[in-house]
Amino acid sequence: MSIESEAEHDIMAVNSATYGKIAGDHPSGVTDESLIAQAQGGDYAAFEALFLRHRAMVYRYAYQLVGRRDDAEDLVQESFVRAYVNLNRYRDQAKFTTWLLRIVTNLAADRARMHTRRTNLELQESKRGLAWMTLGNQTSPEADLEKSVQVELLRLALSQLSPKHRTAIVLRDVEEKEYWEIAEVLNCSLGGAKLRVLRARRALQTVVSRFSKEIQEGLHAN
């Protein structure tokens, strides 16, 4: 890192501490809009305050979409970088969080397209892992095991859905967003968002039923 970069880094760190205090101690005192305005004016610390404020939400959403911690963290970083690059194009027609979720959705869709093959391989591994867990080779108590199996099964089923359906399910049933927010993130009408969620739930239920049936058959075979 050059001297100039180091100096810039130090300035950013100092400003970050200041804004971090503001955002941390008085989260409701500084609105997203004012932080965005400052960040658009070239104040990086304001952008960092936005990052600290919404990082958890973005990560949670990203994690549900990709199902892996490292991928989700990559997605978080990539989303905030993209948000930073395009910050001046942000208009307050949508909420900042909605705009962020839209970025994450698009990035996750791109990633899903790029890694279809890898996902298929992971699916095979997950199935093997699921069967192994079902056999009872787990150190956790029985209840935890059952829960883990259910979660694993559901994640596997989610990964089998199309990105559109997966996004709809995560937004509505995991993140508990309102339909109008979902419509904004997915860039569709309110009715379209409702219809997409309905279809996604049906699709998810179908996949879960199929997997449950396969596991039962596997257990009987063993």
């Binding site: 810039e8 880094h9 970088v81 979660v151 994640r155």
Partner: protein
């Protein structure tokens, strides 16, 4: 009216019953049992979906992001907030500039510079070319220095030099094992100022391909005598051409000479009594002869 039981079951399971509640009341007992069974499955799904909220902590820190942004030198892009008026104005100005450029430069006729060249055989096994190639290295030096001089004096002709290189690539299959050793940049006369000189494009290319300049090509003055550099008179002629290029009077002097010193021969109406052919008469002063049909 057909009732979508599955849809109502989903709405019931996810606690989103609105109009569905009214529809539920219209269901028969059998349909209601089916609805309850389906709703139970979806309620399980909903419960399990809530389990997904339990996720590991995020390890991405502000430092990570800052390092990433600094390391890649990422900057926030300026907003492009173009109104329709700005866009229209820019398009109009662009059209005006394009029109102006077209009117000033687009309609001008630019005759491409002919490109006589000198080739030298590099392979002893190759059959000799159709014309006598110079073997004297002095020739290459002269022509090359003429090229260099030409490039110095008329840098604006670089575009035509580029055209030459294209022509060379076309010439290569014809010359076989010959190698291009020097380029003759031709006349120092700007082609845009000499458009009144008859210069057939195809003819120029033909002359170039065979190593001889066209008769109407001022540039051929350099290479035509240069092919016989082994003899001292032609060597002198070549040097004279080089000097002409150097002084920038190569093409001009030739044309001036052609127009002033040439004599006109007019055909007479009467015939020769001995041969029966039409008589021809040499006019001493060509300025007094009207031309045209």
């Amino acid at each position: 009216m057909r009732i979508d039981i599955n849809k109502i079951a989903i709405a019931k399971a996810f606690e989103e019953l609105g109009e569905g509640e009214a529809k539920m009341k219209k269901l028969s007992n059998r349909q209601r049992e089916q609805l309850e069974a389906e709703a139970k499955d979806f309620q399980t799904l909903k419960t399990n979906l809530n389990l997904l909220k339990d996720i590991p902590d995020c390890q991405v820190t502000a430092e990570h992001l800052r390092t990433r942004i600094l390391a890649e030198g990422i900057h926030s892009q300026p907003a492009k907030d173009w109104s329709i008026y700005e866009a229209t104005g820019t398009a109009a100005v662009s059209c005006l500039v394009l029109g102006f450029v077209w009117l000033t430069h687009g309609s001008a006729v630019v005759i491409p510079q002919m490109a006589p060249t000198v080739v030298k055989s590099t392979s002893a096994s190759q059959p000799p070319p159709l014309f006598s190639e110079p073997s004297n290295s002095v020739h290459s030096e002269i022509v090359a220095s003429a090229s260099a001089q030409k490039e110095k004096s008329t840098p604006s002709l670089k575009h035509h030099e580029g055209d030459q290189s294209d022509s060379h690539s076309q010439m290569l299959p014809i010359t076989g094992g010959s190698q291009l050793v020097a380029l003759n940049s031709g006349s120092s006369v700007d082609p845009r100022t000499s458009i009144d000189v008859p210069q057939p494009r195809n003819g120029a290319n033909l002359g170039y391909r065979h190593g001889f300049g066209s008769a109407s090509n001022p540039a051929s003055e350099l290479t035509a005598p240069a092919f016989g550099l082994a003899s001292p008179p032609l060597m002198a002629a070549s040097e004279a051409s080089y000097n002409a290029i150097k002084n920038g009077t190569l093409g001009k002097s030739r044309f001036a000479k052609q127009t002033n010193s040439s004599t006109l021969i007019t055909l007479q109406s009467q015939r020769d009594k001995r041969t029966g052919l039409i008589e021809a008469k040499e006019e001493p002063n060509n300025n007094d002869v009207p031309l045209g049909g």
